[in-house]
Every structure is written in structure tokens, then in C-alpha cells.
Symmetry: C2
Subunit: 414 residues, 2 copies
Amino acid sequence: MNDETKKPSTEPYRGVRDFYPEDMVVQRYIQDTWSKVAESFGFHRYDASLLEPAELYRAKSSEEIVNDQTYTFRDRGDREVTLRPEMTPTVARMVAQRRRELAFPLRWYSIPNLFRYERAQRGRLREHWQLNCDIFGSHDVAADVEIIHLASSILTAFGAKDTDFEIRINDRATLFGEISKKIKDGGSTAEALKLLDSKAKISAEQYAQTESELFHTPLSLSPDVNSGVHTVLHELSKRGVTTASYDPSIVRGFTYYTGMVFEIFDTNPENRRSLLGGGRYDNLTGLFGGDPIPAVGFGMGDVTMRDFLETHSLLPATGIRGPVVYIVNDDTKTTHDAARIATTIRARGISAASNVSDKKLGDQLKLAERAGAGFALILSESDDTHFELKRLSDRTVTKVSLEECIATLLSELQ
Amino acid sequence: MNDETKKPSTEPYRGVRDFYPEDMVVQRYIQDTWSKVAESFGFHRYDASLLEPAELYRAKSSEEIVNDQTYTFRDRGDREVTLRPEMTPTVARMVAQRRRELAFPLRWYSIPNLFRYERAQRGRLREHWQLNCDIFGSHDVAADVEIIHLASSILTAFGAKDTDFEIRINDRATLFGEISKKIKDGGSTAEALKLLDSKAKISAEQYAQTESELFHTPLSLSPDVNSGVHTVLHELSKRGVTTASYDPSIVRGFTYYTGMVFEIFDTNPENRRSLLGGGRYDNLTGLFGGDPIPAVGFGMGDVTMRDFLETHSLLPATGIRGPVVYIVNDDTKTTHDAARIATTIRARGISAASNVSDKKLGDQLKLAERAGAGFALILSESDDTHFELKRLSDRTVTKVSLEECIATLLSELQ
């Protein structure tokens, strides 16, 4: 243990993040806003373990995906376990398990951490947090509208303007019809979806080449809005969401989507990235047996969210918030004196920390500032009944009794 | 995929829990209370990934512990990764990494999920959540008192009475002195600690037998309180914590404790279990190089906490809380009508869900109750400007305009 060569690193595992208190402030701000808006739409929070039987993903994915893109290992009972790469299979499993007891339609949300297992690359994270919102038990297009409206409301709750993002909507049902009409014998729908999803990333020649290999005649991704998407757009605008449009090129990666699919993009010309996406998946619960329960939902990641907020200067400039008051003492008083005063103040509902060090008074005051305290209460020999109360924002000092101090702090809290 | 034999199970992975919304209410109540009390003591929240390099635990544990009691596997970069079995090595790593930038003493807390890898047994969980509170950077006994006071304040914040739990304190420094004086050549301190920790669980004969193998003369665990523990007890009582006592049999399992150790026990005669424990570990950060930073802290698990609250009838009887109002409609109105009214109400700061199903009105009202809504607003053909507002707790109905409805709901929120 004293062998220098065995000293463990202070770095976190490659591709994951440490959250120091100042990072945690941002993380909590993002997650609390997600939570607040989801609950304003009547969504209930659920959660689950990140450990799932690997078979949960095998059922809907190829062996290759489970092995190459997830953390999957065997436990000592020889069961294959996966660190969840997405939340949808988990929530479908939970809903399927209690399908007889639950009152549908459900409005459920969760903020799980998700894992992807890839070779570490700079900037590619192996763990991130994602808001997941889903409505289970409704075929109604109103559920599609509700989900998109919720996603859009979350962005505006962070202070985003309508012009900061655009919502693009498609319907896979139409797409599947078009594909099945034109695909060559033996061609796979998955291949066709993959081609469409890559359209913006490959050259027109490459696209045309692959298209002619897969299809009899070129796909005509209709510029005409289909009637389901039309209703979604119309109802969104009635709710004040006017930045949505039909986009036949929106396909989404996951194979389980069955109908409406959507993505929201940043309109920043330097960063037109997809902020979030989702859609309708009416068959997923059917995997577990019984009639499938219709579902529509979306997922939104913390890293993308934070980038968006930073790009648009929407992150509030709050540092760490500490206790309302930090009790400090000069060397004529003890840490126990400070602690007892803190206890008295805390009993009145005011958060309070006290010095537990042998630092000089000046250093204690610096610590109180660094800790984000609002005030420092200074105990010194000069007076046992009155103390200096220092407001740390402007460093003004007033002489107060303990009761006056408490009154000042309480009025500050209102 | 349609092969019946390949149907995935709806059960979670063995030994972990799904949190349905009603479970999540309890989980959030526990975690929010933890968080609130820790912050009232000026503690800042941090977090980290549950994935850690396995070497982090090797440094302080035997190879056997890392392999047998943790989830450890190799990633494709051939690095050994562990799902954290406890938080202390992680927080020590984080503090060590920024030791030059951080303002000490730190008051830090976290609520991580932890994993232990053992053969699944009924009732033994492989994942649980644990509150961790630590003070870094103080040798002062006031930090020891603060940590125990915080732990005790958390129990009373849940409504526990002083008589519901007892705090037992020891000092390992005294113990190590006693052990080193009396241990036979070649005897290990770890073995001695293990024996002492098992004292209550084994027979007097077994204890005496092993003791005589390990020591020249029987250990005399002094009934006299040592001076450090004496100060802790004295200062706790000055803060109103009178249920603490010296207990020379408190040893704690982790090897890293260097001084004060404590546990809090349930006083329920049928369930005298340890609720939480902690202590001083002044050398752990030294593992990473540089001078060690003194530290004292404790951990408290969610499962034990919930058991304690249930045993003492301290869990509030709140079911799931839904939106303030659920907008329902008869078959003369559409889901879109309901959604638009919900949007108007939500814009006034009131949480609102709306019907997205083709259920009959009566079933929609049942759903609103099941979802934990406070009110249902009923849209029907009979009147386009006035609606029935049903208070779901007593099923009283009033006829209101939309503005009157909003006024009623807003007054309800105050």
C-alpha cells in the first residue's frame, strides 16, 4: 500500500464524470426543471435498477448490438446482466408486469443513467442521464400531441425561445407503406430505415446508389403531410407550439417505433444538432406476452441539454449555495462554542454550519464565502451576548444579539 | 421474436428493485429528508459514476474482497471496472484529486446507489441507496460531534423520538493500542478486529477460544470512557443529543477507520439492528499520494431506513400525488378540447393532465382518482362556458367558469 507503483489514480473511470458540488448545482438544476415540467403535465416518477437481464435487449436487438454496444457480463449465477443502454425496454417491462393493476393511460417519467459500451474516445461519454417521458395505454393522437408539447414545454421552461429550436415530425406508418411497396425481394426494412436515417450524412450519389440497390423505384417521401401528422401540427399550434413542421426525412434509429416519430433540433446555425427525439411504439409491451399496450414517449439527455443551455446562454449563473449562515470563531472561542450557536440557529429552521478547524478567523471567513454561505456570524472574546453578523455579498457588518441575528436571517429567507 | 420460448421475463434482475410510482413516493420522501437535513448543516451535494476502476478498491482491500463481494468485470480496453460497493473510496479519490483547489474543511454529502455481488438470497439486495455525509480537512473533535449530531438529527427529522434509537461510540485509537500491546507475534490486527466485531454473534466459549489464540492476555476493553469519546458525549449532550453512550464493543467492519467509530441502533427490542454507522478515517486520501486529509463521516442505507420508519410507524400515509386537476370529457367533446383547457390552466402555474383515451366519463373520473389528482374538471356538451369541477377527496361538485375554476385551484395551492 505504501508502494508508489500501486498508488491508485484519482481520475474517474474513462468516459464517466465526477460531479463536484459546482457541477452538481447544474445537474440538479437540469433534473429539477425536467421533473417540475413533467409533473406539471401530471406525469408520475418511476425508477428501476440499471442492472437488467441481457435478454431484455436481445428480444428486440441483434446479438451484435447487445455484445458490442452495451456493458454486458455474466454474474456468478451465470446470468447475463446488462447496464441499461436505454430506458424504454425497462419501462415496457414494468408496465407489462403490472398491466392488470395499473390504471391506463399512464403518464410516467424517469431520469435514469444510461450506459454505452464503446472504446473510449475523447468527448464520448459512457454514462449519461436521460429524461424519459411516456404515455402508455392510448392510441389517441392527443397522446402524440401531449408528448411533443411536453418536450417543447421543457425547452421553454429553461428559457428557450420558440426560435431557438424546431420540431420535426414524421409518421413511420406512411414510411413503412412506401418502403414495402417499393422494396426489392429480400430487401430488409431495417436496411431501408438505416439508409433514410443516414441521408443527411452521406453524399447524394451514395444515397442514390444504395437506394437503387434496395428499391425498384426511388422512394417518394411525400411532401404532403399525412393526416395523423396534420392533426398533430394543427393541435400543437392550437396550444401555442408553432415551430413544428412535417419532415419526411425523420426516421429515428430504434426499430420499435411504429407510428409518429419526431426530433427537436437546435436552430443555432453552428450547431444544428438533434436535442431529443421520440415517437410512438405500440408493440413493445407485446414482447412480454398479452396484447401490446400502445405507447408514445421521448428521451432527452443531460449532456445535450447542458450544451444547448450553454450555447444559448440559458444556464443561470448560480454557484454553489451553502448554508444561510456560517458560524466562525476567533481563537478565544472554541469550535464547540460555534457549534452550539449553530445548533440554536438551526433549531429555528435556518441552515447553519460552524467552524470545525483551527484556521485563523480571516481564513474561516474565506471558507464561509467559498462554501456559498449568505452570512458569517463572528464569535469573539470581546462580547458574549453580541456578535458581528457579516453579509458576505457586500461584506457589510452589523452588531447583533443572537435573537436579532435570527430575526435578520429569517427575514432574509422570505 | 414471436417464439414463445424467447419471451423475456417482466421480472427485474434478481436482487434489485423496480420503483413504481407509489414506491418512488417513499423513496423520494426518504432521500428528500436526507438531503434537507444534510443541507441544514451546510453540506454540499456531490455525485460520481457508479463505475470505478477496480484498483480503487484493491488499494485498500484484499484481492478476495474485490473479486468475491463486488461486481467487477473487464471492459474492452482490458481495464477492470467495479460497480462501487461503497462511496468512501470514491469521495476520497475526488477530494484527493482537487486537494489544491478545494476550501477545507469540506462538508459533503451524496446519495449513491451501491452494489454487492453475492449469490442472490431472499431478502438480500444487490443494490441499495445510501446517504453518505463526510467532513474532510479537520482533526478537530468538533467534526466528530458534528457528524454524529447530523446522523441523529436525520432520525429525529423523520419523527423518531430520542427513545427510538441509541448512539454507541468508541475510539479505535484506544483499541489499536490495547490490541498491539497484547497480540501474539504474527497475529493480525484485522483478525483481532474481526473477532471483536463478531463478539455479539458468537458464543462466549468461541470468543474466549479465539481470543486466547490471538492474544497473550485477554483484552480489557476499558469501561472507562477515553477522553476523546468523553468530549464527544459531553458536546452531544450540550446540543440536546442525550441518547449517546460509550461502547467499547463498537468496532466497525471497514479497515480504514483510524479513530472515533460509532453506530446507531434501533431500540425496538424485537429489532435491535444497527441503523447506520461511521467514524474517522484520517489516512484514506493518503493512498493517492500527498499528505492524508483527515476525514470523518457516516453512511445510512435506504432499506434499513425504510424498515426503521415502518417499524416505528413513521412513514407518512401519502399515496401518489398527481396533477392538481385532471380534465375529462364526455363523448360530445374531444381529447383535444380537454388538452386545450389543460394548457390554459397549466399556463397559470397549475399542474394539469387531460384525458387522452376513449374511455367513458366514469372511467376517466376513476383514472383521475387513481392518478392522485385533487380535482376533475368535466367538459360536456351541456355548457361550453361552465364546467363541473369535482373535488375528488369528498366528491363535491361545483359549477364554475374557467376563470372561477382557476381561482379555486390557485386558492387550493396556497
